[in-house]
Amino acid sequence: MLDFGDSYDAATFAHIVALSLAISVSGTAIAALIGLPGGAALAICRFRGRRLLILFANALLGLPPVVVGLALYLLLSRSGPLGRLGLLFTPAAMALAQGSLATPIIVALVHRAVEEPWQVYGGALRADGAGRWRSILVLLAIARRSVVTAVLAGFGRTISEVGAVLIVGGNIAGYTRTMTTAIVLETSKGDLALALGLGFVLIGISIAVSAAAFVFERRP
C-alpha cells in the first residue's frame, strides 16, 4: 500500500480524488453536450462555413492547455468581463477549462465517426422522413463504439490535464487541488516519491474509468 505521509490523510486524499473525477466528468460532460450533436451535425448538415468549422475543430485538437487556462483566467478574473460571476479559483472554472479542451476532440472524432454511416444510411433516413435531430440520434447510436471512444478521449484529456486547471483553479488545498496539481506541488516540495505515488493512483483511476466504459459499451 502506498504511504501518503502526513500531507494526505484519508479524508484529504479522498477529496482530491473525488474532485479530480468530478471536474473531469463535468468537463467531459460539457464537451459531450456540445461535441456529440455538434460533431454529428457537421457530418450531416450542409451549410456555409461547414468545412471551415471542421478544419477548425481538427486544428484545435492540439489546443495548448496553458493558453486556454490563461484566456479563461483573463475572462473570469474579477477585473475581467465575466468577473462578477466569481468563478475564478473555483472547481467550476476548472470544469469549464477542461470542457474547452475536450470539446474539439469530441467534435472532431464524432464528426469522423458519423460521416460514413451518414453516407450509408443517409438516403434511408431521408426517405423515412427523419428530421435532423432524429438522424443525429440514429447515427450516434449506429456509430456508438467510435462515439464512446471519442468521449473517452475527451475524458483522457481532462483527467490528465494540469496546465489549465493550475491557472484557473489555483491549487487551493481542500478546494481546487486535484491529482495533477497535487503531483506538481509535491514535485516542487522535492517529495518525488509521494509525487510518483500520486501519479500511479492517477493512472490507475484513469485506466479504471476507461476500462469500465469499454466493458459497459461492449456488453451484449
Partner: protein
C-alpha cells in the same frame, strides 16, 4: 450564452457528476466553511507547511476559511491587483512598497521573519562555504563559473538574488546566461530540484529549504548575512481601489495573525525540531 446562467449550470453539472462534493467536503477537515477569503501568498509559507499548520487554528476560532494561492510575491501582488485575492502575504520590500505606493495595498504588517541561505553542492567548487557574506559568496561563484540556479520568476527570493548580484557588481545574465548562470523561471521547489540535479548553487528561503525533501548533494553554505533577512508582510487591499467584498473578513485574518494567538501559532511550527518562522508582529496594545 447568458453569463449569469453559467454559474448555476456548472454547479449543477458538478453535483450531477456524482462525487457529491458539497457534502463530502463539509466534513473534510481542510474544507472551507460558509465564509472564506482568498489569500495570495508567497510559495514558501505554503510549501513549508506553515499555513497548513496555522490556518485550521484560525478557522476553528473564527469560522472563516482561507483559500491559499501559493504564487510567489510578484504573481501574488498581480493577482491581488486584479481583484482576484482578498489579501496578500509576501516578502519583497521593494515590490511591496510599489504595491502600496500605487494605491493597491494598505496597512502592511510584518508577521514573521526568518532568513535566506545560499545552498550549494557539498563539494563546493567555488569554495563559498563557511562565510557570512552573501555578496562575497556570489563573487566566488561567479569567479569559479560554478553553476548557479536563478528563480527568474519575480518572486521575493528572485528579487533579493538580483539585488545581491547588483551589490556584487556582476550582471550574471549578461555575462553567463545559459552557461553557469541558469534562469529556470520557476518556483523555489523547482529551483532546488534543478540545483540538486545540476549540483548548482542557489538562493533559498530557509522555510522551503528545511521542508524540501530532495536535497541530494545540497548543503547550506552561507547564512547569517544581515542582507539575508527575510520578512513576511501581510497587506490588505485598498478598498478605494479594490472594492473586494471580503475586506472585513480579510482584516479579521490580518488582526488574528498579528495577535498573540496567531503569533504563537507561527512560532510553534517546527520541522525536525527546527523552528521555521519567527513571529515578529508587535503585540497589540
Amino acid at each position: 450564452m447568458n453569463p449569469r446562467s453559467l454559474a448555476p449550470g456548472l454547479s449543477l453539472l458538478l453535483c450531477l457528476s456524482g462525487a457529491a462534493l458539497g457534502r463530502d467536503s463539509a466534513q473534510s477537515p481542510t474544507q472551507s466553511p460558509a465564509q472564506s477569503i482568498v489569500l495570495a501568498s508567497t510559495t514558501s509559507v505554503e510549501n513549508s507547511g506553515l499555513l497548513a499548520h496555522i490556518l485550521p487554528i484560525f478557522t476553528a476560532e473564527t469560522g472563516i476559511g482561507v483559500h491559499v494561492l501559493a504564487q510567489g510575491t510578484g504573481q501574488a501582488l498581480q493577482t491581488a491587483a486584479r481583484d482576484d485575492a482578498d489579501l496578500v502575504l509576501v516578502h519583497d520590500p521593494e515590490a511591496e512598497a510599489k504595491f502600496i505606493g500605487d494605491g493597491d495595498g494598505i496597512e502592511p504588517t510584518q508577521i514573521a521573519w526568518n532568513d535566506f541561505v545560499i545552498v550549494g553542492p557539498a563539494a563546493d567548487p567555488a569554495k563559498a562555504a563557511g562565510g557570512h557574506d552573501a555578496v562575497v559568496a556570489l563573487k566566488q561563484i561567479a569567479a569559479a563559473q560554478a553553476p548557479f540556479v536563478s528563480r527568474g520568476d519575480k518572486s521575493g527570493t528572485d528579487a533579493l538574488e538580483k539585488r545581491l548580484w547588483k551589490a556584487a557588481g556582476i550582471d550574471p545574465a549578461a555575462e553567463a546566461g545559459g552557461r553557469w548562470y541558469r534562469d529556470i523561471g520557476g518556483g523555489m521547489g523547482a529551483a532546488l530540484n534543478a540545483a540538486s540535479a545540476m549540483e548548482a548553487y542557489t538562493l533559498s528561503d530557509r522555510g522551503t529549504w528545511l521542508s524540501f525533501k530532495n536535497k541530494g548533494p545540497l548543503r547550506v553554505l552561507v547564512a547569517g548575512d544581515p542582507r539575508l533577512i527575510n520578512r513576511y508582510d501581510l497587506i490588505l487591499l485598498n478598498p478605494a481601489k479594490h472594492p473586494v467584498p471580503k475586506q472585513a473578513l480579510a482584516r479579521k485574518f490580518a488582526q488574528w495573525l498579528a495577535s498573540p494567538a496567531g503569533q504563537a501559532a507561527i512560532g510553534a511550527y517546527e520541522l525536525g525540531g527546527e523552528q521555521l518562522f519567527h513571529p515578529s508582529a508587535a503585540a497589540p496594545k
